[in-house]
């Protein structure tokens, strides 16, 4: 039976995440080619496309990184095939080089780029606001306020892209992407996967002489888009008051809820067409206002634009928002923040006594243990990092990278000193190893290696940097939901494909010291890393073992029982080495001795190697 997202009849309703609604909206627009690299909060877009690719009759690929994903989607769109790529906010930085110049050209097929921002850094390394890419690229940006609008905008984005022959950015945030709601299914056309490349030297070859002409064209395009945005049904102006609120995205909902709970009236302008902004509509909003508050997450994008427009439209209006400190610059918003801002501005009493609650929360915080995410029981990264720390006696510099293994920065591993961006482990090591006078042991996951660490590795060989790169190969993109990558032999839509082995890549890059070891064999890993420290040049140590999560998923299918490990209490001397230096969540303390929680134990057996008195063994 075909996937429900494909087979659902028009008129029916499905409970969909914002990300899934985007997929359905794109299908309804006729999307036929999808290429993406996963990243929270965007991952469910590419994963859903991968799941339905066969049923929907579309092409879907997991690309090596966001830049390649955008280029591939653009390549298909240049041939007239409707294409989509999705990525997390920082992914657009990787793809930005292509984006800025694609913006100068003409693309006939329809190309939509979903950029998912993460205000509050739920699972990101920064809080950048990708709405600002609009001003930089001259491209249109649509920003939905809820899952329903996300689906509608995905569909509309293709129309805009085709009519203006330019990429369109669909900007979401975590609270839109990961919100679920009922979505009404509309009809969808058959996908069209065959295209034709038509030569257009001026718009496809960005030589300076073409780029100069094209810049004039995109300036004009921006103004045409602006006039279309003046009439867009994604913007709504409602209410009548001399107090106005300008808002966009999920914040619009917080505004509506705060107004309702405070029983306040306001003129509300909600903007869905984030770039270019409908200046006339904003001027109309400003007319007759004494005060205007801007409610938006992260950068004061609307606020600064409002300030500029108000200079002509209503210079006397009092503008409030981030500059006036009513709305914070950091973190995500919620109804409480907006309620408090409105209550302060309009001199109303909030319906909830927040200060009493805050006092209570401060008290209970003392009772609550923190619960950071941890590597799973049986995770091979824990074993590899244990061996790294043993081999280097915790005295090296440890540049790291992005994935589940970034958790090794925390105790008890403390084996990661940097985490900057995808692939930075090799580049940072190139520089650090030249100057720091200490051994440098970098670590990177298999998917991140393919994504962005390879140029850094080539650079290390080329410039004769001396460090060890530990490649933690669990044969999946675990952090973002276990997507395949070039090293897995599986491609988007579940297609079988050639495995690109990281050891072959490393050797191909010119690395002379390349060894592959079982990540669970701590002695062997330790030995290889120790030897690598004496190698004059860059070394690559590949610690390979299946991701514990995937192993468990397979075990459920095959009904394989896990045989847990057990601590012999008579032998345990209570040294806590297994807790303080290894730190498996399945090993717990009872009195002054440890025990293994049989429910949590994954049966990897590394604790048996770790125990100095051989008190841990397999349960018989």
């Amino acid at each position: 039976m075909a996937d429900i997202l494909v087979s659902a009849k028009p008129g029916t309703q499905l409970l969909l995440l914002g990300n899934e609604a985007i997929v359905r909206g794109a299908l309804e627009a006729g999307v036929s080619f999808v290429s993406a690299y996963p990243g929270t909060p965007s991952s469910e877009i590419c994963d859903t496309f991968s799941r339905i690719a066969r049923d929907a009759g579309i092409y879907m690929e997991y690309s090596t990184n966001e830049l390649v994903a955008l280029e591939a989607a653009a390549g298909a769109a240049l041939c007239g095939v409707k294409s989509m790529t999705s990525m997390k906010h920082v992914g657009l930085n990787v793809a930005a080089d292509a984006l800025m110049s694609l913006a100068y050209g003409k693309i006939k097929g329809g190309l939509v780029i979903v950029s998912a921002d993460d205000p509050g850094c739920h699972s990101s390394q920064n809080e950048q606001d990708n709405r600002l890419y609009g001003q930089l690229s001259y491209l249109p940006i649509l920003s939905p306020s809820d899952p329903q609008e996300a689906g509608q905008m995905a569909k509309e984005a293709f129309l805009v892209s085709e009519s203006h022959q330019c990429p369109v950015i669909l900007h979401t945030t975590t609270r839109v992407s990961h919100a679920a709601s009922q979505i009404k299914i509309q009809p969808k056309p058959q996908p069209k996967l065959k295209g034709e490349f038509t030569k257009d030297m001026q718009h496809h070859v960005m030589l300076p002489l073409n780029a100069r002409k094209n810049r004039k064209e995109i300036i004009q395009r921006l103004e045409t888009l602006r006039s279309e945005h003046e009439k867009s049904w994604f913007n709504s102006l409602s209410g009548n008051s001399d107090f106005g609120i300008l808002t966009s995205g999920v914040s619009y909902n917080y505004v509506l809820e705060a107004l309702s709970s405070l029983k306040l009236k306001a003129k509300v302008l909600k903007i869905g067409t984030i770039h270019p902004l409908p200046e006339k509509l904003i001027s109309k909003f400003l007319t007759g206002l004494k005060t205007a508050l801007v409610v938006e997450e992260l950068e004061p994008y609307l606020e600064l634009n409002l300030r500029a427009i108000a200079k002509d439209a209503n210079p006397k209006v009092k503008l409030l928002g981030k500059a006036s400190k009513h709305i914070p610059l950091d973190g995500e918003l919620n109804t409480r923040i907006v309620t408090e801002a409105l209550a302060a501005i309009r001199k109303k009493k909030p319906p909830v006594d927040y200060s009493r609650r805050d006092a209570l929360v401060r008290k209970i915080t003392l009772l609550l243990p923190t619960r950071p995410p941890v590597m799973c029981p049986g995770c091979s990264h824990r074993s590899a990092y244990y061996a790294i720390q043993k081999a280097t006696k915790k005295s090296a510099v440890y540049p790291g990278d992005i994935g589940c293994y970034t958790l090794s920065a925390l105790p008890p591993q403390r084996a990661m000193d940097t985490c900057i961006c995808m692939g930075a482990s090799t580049g940072i090591s190139c520089g650090a190893s030249k100057v720091c006078g200490k051994p440098v042991i970098a670590s990177v996951g298999d998917s991140t290696f393919m994504h962005g660490a390879i140029p850094g590795l080539i650079n290390a060989v080329y410039n004769n940097a001396k460090f060890t790169l530990v490649l933690l190969d669990n044969t999946t993109t675990a952090m973002t939901g276990h997507q395949p990558h070039p090293g897995t032999g599986v491609a988007g839509g579940g297609r079988k494909t050639t495995m690109v082995m990281p050891e072959d890549v490393a050797r191909g890059c010119g690395v002379k010291f390349v060894e592959v070891v079982d990540a669970f064999d701590t002695k062997k890993v330790q030995d290889v890393i120790s030897r690598s420290l004496h190698h004059d040049g860059v070394s690559v140590v590949i610690c390979r073992q299946e991701c514990a999560y995937l192993l468990n998923r397979r075990r459920v299918k095959t009904r394989e029982k896990i045989i847990p490990y057990k601590v012999n209490a008579d032998k345990c001397i209570g040294c806590k080495h297994c807790i303080n230096d290894f730190g498996c969540p399945a090993i717990l303390l009872r009195g002054d001795k440890v025990y293994v929680d049989a429910m949590l134990c994954n049966g990897c057996g590394v604790c048996e190697q770790v125990c100095p008195v051989k008190a841990i063994g397999r349960e018989q």
């Binding site: 699972s123 609270r175 009772l367 008890p412 303080n580």
Partner: protein
């Protein structure tokens, strides 16, 4: 209808997303407006998972406004207390008393207060606190991974959901056909716990 606001505090792997899907799907079939706010990503690695489920035309954003939560489902005692500030004083807290010890506690970096202290603190946010061992009930049903469905049974017994209990049982059977019997038993045990049967 008045908006019904539910918050679920849980630990990664406890099935909070499935719990929210059971409630939301049943509501959707009853023609009710739904907003669900989920946590994905980092939280899945044994971290804190916070889920918001909202029913009714007044539900706009995906997050329950602080002070307006009608039912808090704490899948674990510390995770109940972590989200207690969302409670309306007139609401109900359903708290599973089965503890999942966080790694910083087993490492000796953090303290984890006794259940009695956690539960009495819950009472400071709202009077109606129902604490019981839902994991034990799940095990009694045949598998301790059905704790989430025990909690669904418990919330159904409160009589606040805007749809029929029978529809919810049917949704469990549809969504989880393989483990239907265990889950329906888990549902009934949770329901019985609140109804006092």
């Amino acid at each position: 209808m008045k908006t019904l606001n539910i918050v679920v505090g849980s630990v990664g792997g406890q099935g909070a997303i499935l719990l929210s899907r059971l409630l939301a799907n049943t509501a959707m079939k009853a023609g009710i407006n739904i907003r669900v706010g989920e946590t994905h990503g980092m939280a899945q690695r044994g971290g804190v998972v916070e889920t918001h489920i909202r029913f009714g035309p007044g539900a706009k954003g995906p997050l329950v406004p602080e002070g307006e939560c009608d039912v808090l489902i704490g899948m674990e005692p510390a995770e109940a207390l972590r989200f207690a500030h969302f409670m309306s004083s007139k609401g109900t807290i359903l708290c599973n008393t089965h503890r999942i010890v966080p790694v910083p506690v087993s490492l000796g970096f953090a303290k984890y207060a006794e259940n009695s202290e956690l539960i009495s603190s819950l009472g400071k946010f709202c009077k109606d606190v129902r604490a019981f061992d839902a994991t034990a009930l799940s095990a009694q049903a045949g598998n301790n991974i059905a704790t989430n469905v025990v909690m669904v049974g418990a919330i159904a017994a409160l009589g606040v959901l805007p749809f029929k209990t029978e529809d919810l049982r049917e949704e469990i059977a549809t969504l989880l056909p393989k483990y239907k019997e265990v889950n329906l038993k888990a549902f009934d045990l949770g329901y019985g716990q609140i109804k006092g049967k």
